[in-house]
């Protein structure tokens, strides 16, 4: 029997559901898991805090997209506002707004997890079948280099001139219009987001999905979840309606992502070993703008199609980083720049000639790098603390130098930083100034589009939240299946790792019903 998608506006009374599995969250983890469970004949209810939107809603204007598709209407940040957090909130979760870059989990990361977190069961060999299945379902393939837009081309050209590794990326698209608006919802359903792939599969097989329902509490006795308690939210506002959704499942799969999963567990007083919310990793990002004589039009064309992992391994005591491009639309660009008035005007008028390149730092691998911590504020909302430690400061200094070199090698006439007092680099001679500049929290813009951890997977029950099979250490019918289980950052964009792990988790969760 076909299932249904119910939106908050259509819920006019309290709802009580029973089912085999209640999935909380509809992103890369929840979507893949749902399709797999439904295919196994299980009765599934999915709850998603965000709204249900389709390509007809995606008008590609930032003023529409960010409030509609992002956590906190696009304003989520660490408590000190030092790090802006871009995180999806709609049916499809992060997959609705990500930039489509797909990597399998690198071997070096899997080896690190085996050595330091007891995850020997996760190897390339055991995960290969799951990645292959997801690559087929989501049409993950290398984006042809000739289709790279000018923004990504600057990264490629610069790296090649410097003799640094750079290569085309793989993307999960089919019939992509190459428009450049992945971050605002794909207008042609070319991006194989969960809301156009796994979730329709699951609904066709009988899943009931409730959108606009934020889960507030898991009712439990410390050993089993008895019920999931959610509140219907008013679309587009952080306001509760009068209606509740209660689900009484045999098994619960938590798929709300890093930050939201720990918050729910903490609110539910499900933190027996005190590890929930710890080891939250962000791939902290810094950006440099290169200004070129030729037009770059950084707002058009596939947002990310070239990447460089030349600096991913900088030795045992240094934090690695990788380089990618970022689409630059006016609102996001102006927000990222800290300046105002005439300075902002001067920068923004050059937007057609700007290339935006990013460095993403691989947190969680160095000894003592515990990343950030998610807590619950007194009013129930997430608190996110992320100390910028010396290793990250050092890496951000070096990555600024790398990005500046790439821009200069690619022909930039000027390179601008996003420091509190922005620096301008016009030649290699200016790099000494860049090296001496201050780095750290509030010294320059820092972002994240990759949230990982907070419900770490591990074999040590005292130092992790779930086991290698995604099962909570003490609550038998609770699984966590998404990026929040990652015990470290990845050094690559995380969506494909989550797809693969969720695909592997289908039988594990089904077996608990």
């Amino acid at each position: 029997m076909k299932g249904r998608i119910t939106q908050g506006k259509d819920i006019t009374a309290d709802v009580v559901e029973t089912c085999d599995v209640c999935i909380i969250g509809s992103g890369a983890g929840g979507g893949v898991l749902a399709a797999g469970l439904v295919a196994r004949g299980l009765d599934v209810v999915m709850l998603e805090a965000g709204g249900y939107h389709t390509r007809r809603d995606f008008n590609l204007h930032e003023e529409t997209a960010f409030p509609m598709l992002y956590q906190a209407r696009g304003t989520r940040a660490t408590d000190d506002l030092a790090i802006s957090i871009l995180q999806g909130r709609s049916v499809g979760g992060g997959t609705t707004i990500n930039w489509t870059t797909c990597f399998r989990t690198p071997d070096r990361i899997l080896r690190h997890w085996a050595e330091h977190h007891g995850l020997e069961a996760l190897t390339a060999a055991t995960l290969d079948p799951h990645w292959e299945a997801m690559e087929a379902r989501l049409n993950i393939h290398a984006w042809p280099e000739p289709l790279a837009n000018a923004n990504n081309r600057k990264l490629l050209d610069g790296c090649r001139k410097l003799g640094w590794e750079a290569a085309p990326l793989r993307r999960n698209v089919k019939g992509c219009a190459n428009s450049g608006y992945c971050g605002m919802g794909c207008p042609v359903d070319g991006k194989q987001s969960q809301h156009v792939t796994s979730i329709p599969d699951a609904v066709d097989g009988g899943m009931r999905l409730y959108a606009d329902v934020e889960v507030r509490r898991l009712e439990h006795d410390g050993k089993r979840i008895a019920a999931v308690h959610g509140v219907v939210m008013e679309r587009g506002r952080d306001r509760d309606t009068a209606h509740a959704v209660t689900v009484k499942p045999k098994v619960v799969a938590l798929c709300g992502g890093a930050i939201n999963n720990p918050v729910l567990l903490l609110r539910s007083e499900l933190n027996p070993n005190g590890r929930v919310g710890l080891r939250t990793f962000l791939h902290p990002v810094v950006a440099l703008a290169g200004i070129y004589e030729d037009e770059v039009a950084p707002y058009y064309g596939a947002p990310q199609s070239i990447g460089s992992h030349h600096f991913i391994d900088r030795g045992p005591d240094k934090m690695g980083y990788f380089l990618e491009a970022a689409p630059m639309h006016p609102m996001l660009t102006a927000s990222a720049a800290g300046v105002f008035g005439a300075e902002l005007d001067e920068l923004m008028r050059k937007l057609p000639n700007i290339s935006g390149l990013l460095a993403l730092h691989v947190d969680g691998l160095l000894p003592g790098d515990e990343g950030g911590t998610v807590t619950v504020r007194p009013d129930g909302r997430p608190g996110i603390a992320y100390p910028v430690r010396p290793a990250l400061v050092e890496a951000m200094r070096e990555s600024h130098m790398s990005l500046a070199r790439v821009h200069l090698a690619a022909g930039a006439k000027k390179v601008g930083t996003l420091h509190k007092r922005p620096l301008q680099i016009r030649s290699e001679a200016d790099l000494a100034t860049l090296e001496k500049a201050p780095y750290g929290a509030m010294e320059h813009a820092i972002f994240t589009a990759h949230q990982m951890g907070g419900c770490a997977m591990g074999s040590d029950v005292e130092n992790s939240v779930v086991d290698v099979n995604h099962r909570h250490h003490t609550v038998g019918n609770l699984f966590v299946v998404d990026g929040s289980v990652l015990p470290t950052a990845l050094g690559v964009n995380p969506s494909h790792t989550i797809y693969g792990l969720a695909h592997r988790a289908r039988d594990l969760v089904a077996g608990a019903v």
């Binding site: 952080d238 102006a334 008035g341 937007l351």
Partner: protein, 196 residues
């Protein structure tokens, strides 16, 4: 924004004195109040006027005017959709900004923000941006983010950044000018070997 009155006070003697001085300044120096063009969700006329003055200072003078784009009113609409605690903190920041003695502290002169010259306003905002008091930097970031976002997300401001705007795929009932879709290669199963 995580700034609260209590946290500002927790900054210690400097922060407490600043707030006290600002409160005194407010009492001594009444600010300008304009009539908002529409009913407001969160702000009152006084804080809306401060916000409008902030928007004038932060946004480019050469593009469409912030009044023409209703920046302050659109920020108020956003505040109405945000969590009430966050919205309240923005209101607190605007109230503090308006205080004459706070302005004096940052070189803007002993005048409420709304009564200050454009140069004085810029000095005060620059002072907050570069401040060594973390909560002032946070307040600047939060207010700036809302204002700049409201300005540059408005289609009428696209011209100010040379942005031609998004392609039209027919959303919202507009006639579709379908961009050519790129034929996708078949999926490959190659592994992504990451160098290093």
């Amino acid at each position: 924004m995580a700034t609260t009155r209590r946290r500002v006070l927790q900054l210690g003697l400097g922060g407490g004195m600043l707030l006290a001085a600002g409160t005194l300044g407010l009492a001594l120096q009444p600010g300008l109040t304009r009539e908002p063009p529409a009913e407001l969700a969160v702000l009152d006329a006084k804080t809306w006027t401060v916000l409008a003055a902030v928007a004038e200072t932060l946004c480019p003078a050469s593009g469409p005017s912030t009044d023409a784009l209703d920046v302050a009113t659109r920020v108020d609409t956003q505040l109405g959709r945000m969590h009430p605690a966050d919205a309240a903190e923005v209101v607190l920041g605007l109230t503090l900004l308006e205080n004459g003695l706070v302005g004096l502290f940052f070189g803007g002169g002993f005048r409420p923000f709304t009564q200050s010259t454009p140069v004085q306003r810029a000095k005060v905002l620059e002072g907050w941006r570069a401040s060594s008091v973390p909560d002032l930097v946070k307040a600047y970031k939060a207010i700036r983010g809302l204002v700049v976002t409201a300005f540059y997300s408005h289609p009428a401001a696209y011209v100010a950044s040379g942005y031609p705007g998004p392609p039209n795929f027919g959303q919202g009932g507009a006639p579709a000018i379908q961009a050519k879709q790129v034929p996708s290669p078949t999926p490959d199963a190659e592994t992504d070997e990451v160098p290093g």
